[in-house]
């Protein structure tokens, strides 16, 4: 692959947004067609990426120049391998701007210069077995969102533009390999999302959007501080001042972070937190808000309840994955010791989210809020898998991120259809709708089953691996978490049966409430062809992944293994380096497929 596919992937939605902006007089049909075309091209590109992605990566390098522990650092394996890397130095004091593609910058000795630390960040993108799936998921969900977006939507053009900008932001977050770039996209994605939230939705959307922005910005601020902190702490200890992610990941092998000092509290002695731990917590806070984990979830139910369906498709489907993605990409790799130190905390929060979300879902009377809390519960499983810190848990988390995206998007399309058809979100106003909408009931059943972790459907695979991974760390937690599986069956059936089964019931049933009379008054309310087209790929993938999950794992397992190894490093020892130190690393071997 000799062309910069990731940059193209990033630019296509932006170009689409610009195109729409340049056509102020376009008819709704044309706007929708352009939107669908642009998202379809993005999906196509992400599929190309999947096709040419290497399941077994060649080894990668991150070149370090500097000293640590009194020894010179020359060439170090990056514990995590990225493919399709593109790097353009952006702001780089002390060296000229040069494009280095595909491998890392050769002969860059700026780090060795005496004097104040240089600022060094670059446009650096790349993917691994984690992000490649999330990019594909994003591509699919934005297309599905474009399909369910009605051409009668008010201010359609603005909606489409903001949607494409969010897509670019999401892809940027997933592909960036530089912390400054990452932060830029992280915030940049927020802006269109905020405007989508405040501009479209129910009457409480203003409050929801404000809540969302307060929470997220609070988390982001801590993350910004932490990004700067990582820069200085890593630099001070290794002489490597950079925002470049692969370099930072490699450099962490040489960062001292033993917990030599302790303090005692309530008669127990705890390790005193060192800078890495604080930085870990700051990143974790930002990601925990984004996921969200209980108790940082306050923004979610309101945001999910008041959003429009097309917005929710990608907002719930992919934006919520960015937090989990951040945990894997940054917390595990940049703070190996802290990841292990805080493993019980994060697993505890994950289990709390699973149970709390499930119980809250069980009590909701609003169908959208039921799904919102279900989402919290499901994402608790993802974080549980991540912080199991083993390959089963992490592979489970990766596949479950994809699964959750498919399921939650489909669930919101379904409840959105019920809301749109009957003008209510109250569970008790509706019932027995299978009589009126048999196709809807059938598809909704499949989606609900996937949502409750039905075997031979996708989320069983993820939950099984996650629970297996967690079980290896702590059987007790796995057992408690599996209560979430039982509760999931309960709340999902409550939702499904409440809507589709029992006596037929719609709001304002009128005088004659016999089923036949209601059916006659309703007319044709079953799924329209467009809705079936939107749901079909999601439902198909739910079954396909459940029956044959092998391909996803085949792509994710090497990356998962690398992340686990990255988190397992202890100070001064690079297990990767030690096994590979005898090998000479040639630049043309670096950087995966992009170097061929």
């Amino acid at each position: 692959m000799n062309w910069p596919i990731l940059t193209v992937l990033l630019l296509v939605p932006v170009a689409g947004a610009l195109l729409l902006l340049a056509l102020p007089g376009a008819r709704p049909g044309a706007i929708r067609a352009i939107l669908m075309a642009v998202t379809a091209v993005t999906l196509g590109l992400s599929c190309v990426l999947l096709v040419v992605f290497l399941a077994v990566p060649t080894s990668g390098t991150a070149k370090l120049s500097g000293t640590a522990n009194g020894q010179a650092l020359s060439q170090v394996h990056s514990p995590v391998t990225f493919q399709f890397q593109e790097q353009v130095n952006w702001l780089h004091s002390g060296a000229s701007l040069s494009q280095v593609h595909p491998a890392f910058n050769e002969g860059n000795n700026a780090f060795n210069q005496a004097g104040p630390p240089p600022i060094n960040f670059s446009y650096h993108v790349g993917v691994d077995g984690l992000s490649v799936w999330l990019i594909a998921l994003a591509g699919l969900l934005f297309l599905v969102a474009a399909v369910v977006l009605s051409r009668k939507e008010e201010r359609l053009r603005s909606f489409a533009v903001l949607m494409l900008l969010s897509e670019a932001g999401v892809i940027g977050v997933l592909t960036s390999l530089d912390l400054v770039l990452f932060y830029f996209f992280w915030e940049a994605a927020l802006i269109p999302l905020y405007f989508l939230m405040i501009g479209w939705g129910d009457e409480r959307r203003g409050r929801s959007a404000l809540k969302f922005i307060i929470y997220t910005v609070a988390g982001s601020l801590f993350m910004l501080l932490a990004i700067i902190g990582v820069y200085f702490v890593t630099g001070a200890q290794t002489g490597v001042y950079t925002f470049d992610v692969p370099t930072l990941i490699a450099a962490q092998s040489f960062v001292q972070s033993t917990h030599a000092t302790t303090f005692s509290l309530f008669g127990h002695s705890f390790p005193a937190l060192n800078p890495q731990d604080w930085l870990f917590l700051a990143f974790a806070l930002a990601f925990a808000i984004k996921v969200p984990l209980v108790p940082f979830h306050g923004w979610l139910p309101d945001a999910y309840a008041s959003g429009k369906t097309p917005f929710l498709v990608f907002f719930t489907g992919i934006v919520s994955k960015l937090g989990a993605f951040g945990f894997i990409r940054y917390n595990l790799t940049l703070f190996p010791q802290a990841s292990h130190l805080f493993q019980p905390l994060l697993m505890g929060l994950a289990v709390a989210s699973i149970l709390y979300g499930a119980l809250a879902a069980l009590a909701q009377s609003d169908i959208k809020r039921t799904v919102a809390y279900a989402s919290i519960s499901h994402l608790g499983f993802v974080v549980l898998g991540i912080f199991a810190l083993n390959i089963d848990g992490l592979n489970g988390a990766i596949i479950q991120m994809v699964n959750h995206g498919l399921i939650i998007a489909a669930l919101f399309i379904c409840v959105g259809i019920f809301e749109a058809r009957f003008g209510t979100r109250r569970l008790r106003d509706l019932g027995g709708l299978a009589k009126a909408m048999p196709v809807m009931a059938g598809i909704f059943l499949v989606v609900a089953l996937a949502g409750l972790g039905m075997p031979l459907m996708n989320s069983f695979v993820g939950e099984f691996l996650i629970l297996l991974g967690a079980f290896q760390v702590s059987p007790a937690w796995a057992v408690v978490a599996s209560l979430g599986v039982i509760l999931a069956a309960w709340y999902m059936l409550r939702l499904y049966q409440g809507l589709t089964q029992g006596p037929l019931r719609i709001p304002g049933g009128g005088d004659d409430s016999t089923p036949a009379a209601i059916l006659g008054r309703l007319g044709r309310v079953d799924l329209s062809p467009v809705e079936i087209v939107a749901l079909a790929p999601l439902v198909g993938l739910m079954i396909l992944i459940g029956v044959y999950p092998g391909p996803i794992i085949r792509y994710s397992r090497y990356s998962a293994d690398q992340y686990v190894r990255a988190a397992d490093r202890s100070t001064g020892q690079d297990p990767v380096l030690s096994t590979a130190s005898a090998r000479i690393i040639r630049p043309d071997q670096a950087g995966g497929k992009s170097s061929r």
Binding site: S59, I214, A363, G432, R494, Q497, Q501, L504, P575
Partner: protein, 667 residues
């Protein structure tokens, strides 16, 4: 056996019902009923034929080489190979492979054979139902799931089949979804099944993580044949449970049994079964008699290498089995819903099977499963004829006098009752005597568990002949009973076939008390299940036989005395032992206990979260922060113009300022 042939045939066995499901489901009810009336039962009978071919091919082989494993596809593998500078890492790894051996073929024959008969019957029973196609879709997927469960050689696919069975059973119980009670019963069944599933998951985890091979290396496998091969005496379990002594294998046994208890409606996960009678009657026959509820028996028999290493777990299984058998028998004596009586009878009989496999009489347990599948499906289908004729009345107090109006059904139901009660020549006699004889020889608490098991006999014949007497004898007690007609031929034929089977299949295995043994059945299963560790002596066996027989007859005599001749007042127990009557009539209060102990606390907690914690704590804490920010924000309100370009300008302004400050600081 030729692996390719077996692969193709098993693909047909699994594929045909799946195809039937897919066609009915995707066509969303648009296919003509007359077509589905052929394809629905057709695919099952096709699978039966394929199973028969496998069976015949198997019989050609010597007993020692009747097991074969074939792989369908690689499901997933999280392991990574060494290379690229790092060592290999072993993770979870599973194939979709199936096992064809005498045990799975026996199950497949029953599932597709009896299942096929029930499908044929359903064509008649459901003919008028608008959900005809949906019904056959669910029935077909149920058969697929059940076949997957018994054919799987991978623990994960066993779990998958296990849970798909639960789904199919949910869908069929809640088939008449306009009925509130059916919807609730379906949900109850499903959630109970999920509890059992979780037990299976956890048991699978323990096996996967802890089983060691001959050299002490961790095997990390979910291949059931590999597991069994390494669980023999001296098994290398990485024992993390310590003081229990073989604690790991005991824990595995108990966790697996949690799954078995949920499927087989054993205490403490039994309460869903009676409510499941909300489904159409063929469903009760298929799921709640012949197949699904016996999955627990299959599981324990299949995993007998583990239970043989875990005497504590096996003892618990036996104890729960016999306890459930007794409890369900007592409850059955006071119920009035014809299907519920049969349902409790099922629970009771399966308790006996679970008891048998718990004490190590695997073959006897499977034989009881086999005969029970015949006579219990017979009872349900015959009851279905009655219910059909009475326009969905299920209360035996509204019946009466049906023996004259529905002669064939009456004969069939009586044959089923005789078989169930264990009266000689009928199937249940042989299987139950073998079962109780083995129990006598092997039971952990001999002879007490055996005594309880024999006492169940008297209850069995009492409750079932009570139904025969009240429903079929005497005068009609309702308009519908007055005008009842015999069922149409399509519904009568499967019933008569089953009646024939219930009469003769017992002779497949006649081996007790010194009679000349016929051991076709147990010899067939021997390569998988082995032989019991001990058999009862002839004298003890003969005594056991006599006692069981006399008690069964005693039950019938008791019915005759109470309901036939009125020698004993019907009010005797209600008047003199009201607590016992209430205990039985109220089903030992388990529903109430679970409601108070589990359901209500969960719902209350959920409500507290929704009404208190979410608005007060989660939003409240934020509210304080938000209010102070809002106060601050008032001062900056002038920034909020509402125009995107203003925001963008400010964003870039501050970004640039920030970068400049950063740059100045650093350089």
């Amino acid at each position: 056996m030729n692996p390719t042939l077996i692969l193709v045939l098993s693909a047909i066995v699994l594929g045909l019902p799946t195809a039937g499901f897919a066609v009915s489901a995707i066509s969303a009810g648009r296919l003509p009923h007359r077509l589905v009336a052929w394809t629905g039962p057709g695919v099952i009978l096709g699978a039966f034929v394929a199973t028969l071919i496998i069976f015949v091919a198997m019989l050609q082989q010597p007993a020692s080489s009747r097991g074969i494993t074939v792989v369908f596809w690689h499901w997933l593998n999280t392991s990574v190979a060494s290379g690229h500078g790092v060592a290999a890492q072993t993770g979870f790894n599973a194939n979709f492979s199936i096992r064809i051996d005498p045990l799975s073929v026996l199950m497949m024959l029953v599932i597709t054979g009896i299942g096929g008969l029930i499908h044929v019957y359903s064509v008649g029973y459901m003919a008028e139902d608008p959900g005809f196609n949906r019904f056959f879709a669910y029935m077909n997927i149920f058969i697929t799931s059940m076949l997957l469960l018994v054919m799987s050689n991978t623990l994960v696919f066993l779990v998958i089949g296990w849970a798909m069975v639960a789904f199919a059973s949910y869908a069929l119980i809640a088939f008449w979804y306009e009925r509130r009670s059916a919807v609730v019963a379906g949900r109850k069944a499903f959630v109970t099944q999920v509890i059992g599933d979780v037990g299976l998951y956890l048991g699978a985890f323990l096996i996967f993580l802890n089983l060691r091979g001959a050299h002490g290396q961790l095997l990390h496998t979910v291949n059931m044949q590999t597991i069994f091969a390494n669980v023999g005496p001296g098994a290398h379990f990485h024992d993390g449970l310590g003081p229990l002594g073989g604690g790991m294998v005991t824990a595995i046994g108990i966790l697996l049994f949690l799954g078995a208890a949920a499927k087989s409606a054993q205490w403490p996960l039994h309460t869903w079964l009676p409510d499941a009678m909300e489904g159409p009657t063929p469903v009760s026959a298929l799921i709640h008699a012949a197949t699904m509820v016996t999955a627990g028996v299959y599981l324990v028999a299949r995993f007998h290498p583990i239970y043989q290493q875990a005497p504590v777990a096996a003892g618990l299984v036996a104890f729960i089995g016999i306890g459930t058998a007794m409890m369900a028998g007592i409850i059955g004596c006071t119920q009035y819903d014809i299907k519920r009586v049969i349902a409790y009878s099922t629970m009771s009989q399966i308790g006996l099977m679970i008891f048998a496999v718990g004490v190590g009489a695997y073959s006897a347990g499977m034989f009881q499963f086999f005969t029970h599948a015949c006579f219990k499906a017979l009872l349900f289908l015959a009851a279905g004829n009655v219910i059909h004729a009475l326009h969905d009345d299920q209360d035996i107090r509204l019946m009466g006098g049906l023996s004259k109006r529905m002669k064939a059904t009456f004969v069939a139901f009586t044959v089923g009752s005789l078989a169930l009660a264990g009266i000689p020549i009928f199937a249940g006699f042989f299987s139950k005597e073998e079962l109780l004889g083995s129990g006598l020889a092997l039971g952990p608490a001999v002879p007490w568990l055996w005594v309880v098991g024999v006492l169940v006999n008297v209850l069995t014949s009492f409750y079932i002949f009570r139904v025969v007497w009240i429903a079929f004898r005497g005068e009609p007690r309702s308009e519908h009973a007055e005008h009842a007609h015999e069922a149409p031929l399509l519904m009568l034929l499967p019933v008569l076939v089953l009646a024939g089977l219930a009469t003769v299949v017992g002779f497949l295995n006649v081996d007790f008390a010194g009679f000349a043994p016929i051991t076709l059945f147990s010899a067939f299963l021997k390569p998988v299940l082995g032989v019991p560790a001990a058999t009862a002596s002839d004298t003890a066996g003969a005594l056991a036989l006599l006692a069981g027989f006399l008690l069964s007859v005693g039950g019938i005599v008791l019915v005759w005395a109470v309901y036939g001749r009125g020698l004993i007042s019907r009010e005797l127990v209600p008047n003199h032992l009201p607590w016992l009557y209430q205990l039985s009539f109220r089903k030992f209060y388990w529903d109430e206990i679970y409601d108070v102990a589990l359901v209500r606390p969960t719902v209350s907690l959920a409500t507290v979260i929704r009404r208190v914690i979410e608005p007060e704590v989660m939003d409240g804490a934020l509210g304080g922060i938000r209010d102070s920010i809002a106060a601050l924000a008032d001062d900056f309100r002038t920034f909020q113009t509402g125009f995107l370009k203003d925001y963008a300008t400010w964003f870039f302004f501050f970004a640039v300022v920030g970068l400049v400050i950063l740059g100045l600081r650093l350089s």
